[in-house]
Symmetry: C2
Subunit: 335 residues, 2 copies
DNA sequence: CTGAAAGCGCTTACAG
DNA sequence: CTGAAAGCGCTTACAG
């Protein structure tokens, strides 16, 4: 509605003074500042973002692209993640630009547009892969970013890493205590860091308890509940089926639940089922599953804090943050 | 990286011509245009958004605020909604600004900031209430918006309306055919249009089949699965409990499922359960519930198309679009 | 068909 | 402590 000129004119001072007063410079008379703030408030003045961005050469905006497949699974995860990003950003008067890409090509061209047109000052990444073109691309383009997960591209970048090694030890111990010793692990896309890490933690935990690792017991699905359902069906049809199925994510575990149900197995007694992420819809879904819970919203917030520090040219306290998931035990593994 | 000047200099032409060539004006020599496009592409030039916005007085951005409570329920709904918005917008080179408000106050100040600082050209609204301050606020502020749902503020605005009257008739008929005649309805927040409409359709459908409406059978919960669980527990403890429970949304129905399970009722035989929205996580959740499915993503797309037409000053084909949900029958109501 | 120039609304050295 | 002025990178009437 109103511009800085309107405010200046209304007060008979220069636009420079209005600008400085509003931006908190300390070389403005306290009384002047006070009057400017009041007048701006009254007139509903807020600096035009485009003009400010153009002048400051900063967008005050952070971008996040929903991976192509986010619609199909991990919805609660992304929802919570976006909420966390939005929260932390709006605290700092930054905005969150969101897009969703159907294909990798679209994703790439979105990044390109954002970067070339200076729409964003930084980007937050998710679902990192072992080799991740986004890491390479953003690094080459000199675009600041933080990520949940560390790729293996030989690029060092600020990130948050989930460390579930100890969590898996606790989970396996819990399963053993409840008499579930034939454990299987249903993984996901093999290039996903989440898959690689979680499978590794699972196998290490087995070894720690002296249980041999059987690769036939570690099939991969596609991280959807449908995938979990199909692969669980195969596992349960084995001559010596597992009596515990751990999953790379909760969604897969939901499918396993369904398959076990069809096989007329009593969940938590004849078979144990566990997931990962802890983004259960709510407490009152039919079978709450045992899971390793990630504080998704906090993770997102922290990624924003790190990114904003970088954008503002401040030194980062830590470039690598480690977060341990928390084991949530429910009746799906015998309570 | 590069600006319009760089491109112009590289080609020895004026920036005006570069701008016109790239923007598709027809008063540019075809050959010049071709060369400009190639050069821009090669140099990775994309017009600086802030400069363009400032000059054009348009943000080429649409805003959407996640309601304060979105974290707690309806996650898949919002996820799909946002995806639909993002899709349709990026097709037109528009961006989607997303924020989430914890309180109504925060939400209001976010809108205020977006409007006063010209961050967005239009806004999409969701979860419309009977009296909706947002409708009033945006109308007064002269900000363009479209919404899923029509409030009763006496303001006429372009919107999409879900019409489930026929769907409820089909659902009630289906339940009767399967022998479920004592029907209850668990509603939600009483000022929500969704609640008001759906309860009304339910009662009309009952009347249509000559079933008396019992207000004790129409309690309200809070649209979460926990709320559904609690209220279903109360219904099932009645002297003459219902044998069918219809819910204002799927989330509530999930809680009902849990409660029925605890009461040792066989779902789909001893009790029928139905939801609304059709945003089931996936096919292989434990009990897929009968629901009235809304094409969420399409709805979001259409809201964007309407909004963009308004932003571009084009006439709207329809200012009021009606969409009918589709009845999805599963074993939760006897298959 | 092309170019020179104005101006969108800010912020920020610079001068006083 | 305050103001005049430059300039961020575009788009678009206007002139030729």
């Amino acid at each position: 509605m109103s511009t800085i000129k309107d405010v200046a004119k209304a007060m008979n001072i220069s636009i420079a003074t209005v600008s400085r007063a509003l931006d908190g410079y300390d070389d403005v008379a306290a009384e002047t500042r006070q009057r400017v703030i009041e007048t701006a408030q009254k007139m509903g003045y807020s600096p035009n973002r485009a003009a400010r961005q153009l002048r400051r050469q900063k967008a005050e905006t952070v971008g996040f692209i929903l991976p192509a497949n986010a619609q199909r699974f991990d919805e609660p995860f992304f929802m919570e993640f976006i909420s966390g990003l939005g929260d932390a950003l709006s605290e700092q008067n930054f905005d969150l630009l969101v897009a969703n890409a159907k294909t990798e090509e679209m994703e790439r061209s979105l990044y390109e547009r954002w970067i070339n047109s200076r729409k964003v000052d930084g980007i937050v990444l998710n679902r990192i892969q072992k080799q991740d073109w986004r890491v390479q691309y953003l690094t080459n383009a000199n675009m600041l970013f933080t990520a949940l997960g560390k790729s293996q591209d030989g690029v060092e970048y600020p990130h948050i890493r989930i460390d579930g090694a100890q969590g898996y030890v606790e989970l396996v111990q819990h399963l053993l205590a409840n008499g579930f010793s034939r454990m299987a692990f249903i993984g996901g896309h093999e290039n996903l860091i989440n898959h690689i890490d979680r499978l590794h933690w699972f196998q290490s935990a087995l070894e720690k308890f002296g249980i041999p690792v059987d690769s036939k017991m570690c099939p991969s699905a596609d991280m959807t509940s449908t995938g979990g359902y199909i692969v669980a069906g195969q596992l349960l049809a084995l001559p010596a089926p597992p009596n515990a199925i751990l999953c790379v994510n909760d969604e897969t575990a939901f499918g396993v639940l369904h398959a076990a149900h069809e096989h007329r197995l009593i969940i938590g007694r004849e078979i144990a089922i566990a997931g990962f992420d802890g983004v259960q819809d709510a407490i009152h879904t039919e079978y709450p599953i045992t899971t390793l819970k990630i504080p998704v919203s906090n993770v997102a917030r922290q990624l924003v804090y790190m990114l904003l520090a970088m954008i503002n040219g401040k030194p980062l306290a830590e470039r690598q943050v480690k977060i341990e998931p928390k084991l949530i035990i429910t009746e799906s593994t015998g309570g």
